[in-house]
Point group: C2
Chain length 232, copies 2
DNA sequence: CTTTTGACTACTGTATACAATTTTCTGAGA
DNA sequence: TCTCAGAAAATTGTATACAGTAGTCAAAAG
């Protein structure tokens, strides 16, 4: 999801703005854990760091605020959003509701070509599991679910889901234990998703709904308080 | 939903910023239909209109972009978001998914006091229906549903829902026919919501889910293309 | 020794000014 | 009359500069 919308019908060469460039770099720094949750984001320091002046930097921060990655404290500036155990529970519950909605609206999939992104992600997932490449596995998993949610072609659904994805990436970025827990079921990852995709292809909506409702992460959610600390 | 977050625990006197003030005034102008969907929002004209300089105005626009009321076209400025029939379908389908989620997470309601906002809204709805005051009915209806969604205390759920609420208000603001259709079931409005609240109070989750799934608006969704025009 | 008050520092909020790009208007040619 | 090129106008993107507020630390009073 880009921060800016492209004008429909136009296929001109879009000149990326400074603010957009800053969004991408800053987002990467945040989700990678370079900036830790709760950390203050001092504008002057960041503007110097990125080589831009403060106005575009502030715009970038507003965009990241929309994505749910930073928080604005009036007259006190921006901080990286502090994610608590309760926040993670929120993210997972909302994620489930959105995926369920995607399945209910998107199935049956009439045009098989629309499933190609999911097939590609699944294949990448298989390779990543084979090579024990967690980084690639995370990426493929992310892409698989994004493709699932994209099935109904529902813009608001996609955007909302994207925000949650970024916040989960942030969790993984700043908390290695969290990241580990997310892949406690590392071996099952590919088979489970393969099963899910097959159920989608055969049009077995009930099976798909059951599978996403029990889509692992039970152990993760149970250990959340130990991983992050209780919210408040 | 405020654009800025208040620091938890602090009850200081918050100095409202120019940008926040502009957000409120501009939002009112947009949802009331003063600015029509698709209309360009020229920064200099607006900054003159509100008596602020362009930087805080641009920040206000970014905040409204987050709420889904305006759209940013790179190097071409901001426009009021053009809402098509498909957009309204998106809004309604997402709304349903979120309300269902709220019911599933929030029921049973252990503390009866948490239902008070819904009771208040329902009472206001009854009075509004009695007085044939559509304005008040809209407001009470909005508040009832917001209270429903607030039951689980799920911040992300509430924020997402709030964005949809504003967009629906925008629809009603700029399209009188649309507004009329939304209250084609004007007489049923109060009884239906009273029934809904009763089911919540008695803890009949199945009944509640059934009711929000069939919560009117069928005729509205059928006539959308005539009301707005097909999206693209 | 504790508490309170004051000034100081750092930072955000805002305004003005300039640069770069897009859009529009004008005019010539087909 | 329509199309295309070029220039001018309008508007966005960005930088610099200043004002105002919140947080901090020290000094003085209790």
């Amino acid at each position: 999801m880009s921060a800016e919308a492209t004008a429909p019908g136009t296929s001109k060469v879009l000149v990326p703005t400074m603010a957009d460039a800053v969004v991408q770099r800053l987002r990467a720094l945040i989700v990678s854990g370079e900036f830790r949750p709760g950390e203050r984001l001092v504008e002057e320091r960041l503007s110097e760091m990125f080589g831009v002046s403060r106005p575009p930097l502030r715009e970038a921060l507003r965009i990241l605020q929309r994505d749910g990655l930073v928080q604005s404290l009036p007259r006190r500036g921006f901080i990286v959003i502090p994610i608590t155990a309760d926040d993670v529970r929120e993210i997972y519950s909302l994620r489930f509701a959105l995926e369920r909605m995607a399945v209910e609206l998107g199935m049956p999939v009439l045009d098989p070509n629309r499933l190609q992104p999911m097939r590609d992600a699944l294949e990448d997932m298989r390779v990543a599991a084979e090579e024990m490449n967690d980084e690639a596995a995370v990426e493929a998993n992310s892409r698989f679910h994004a493709a699932l949610v994209s099935l109904p072609g529902h813009k608001r659904l996609i955007d909302t889901y994207e925000g949650l994805r970024l916040q989960l990436e942030l969790c993984m970025g700043y908390n290695l234990k969290f990241r580990e827990q997310m892949f406690g079921d590392r071996k099952d990852m590919h088979p489970r998703h393969a099963q899910l995709l097959e159920s989608i292809e055969t049009g077995d909506k009930e099976a798909v709904l059951y599978e996403i409702a029990h889509h692992g992460n039970a152990s993760l959610l149970e250990n959340l308080d130990d991983l992050i600390g209780t919210g408040g």
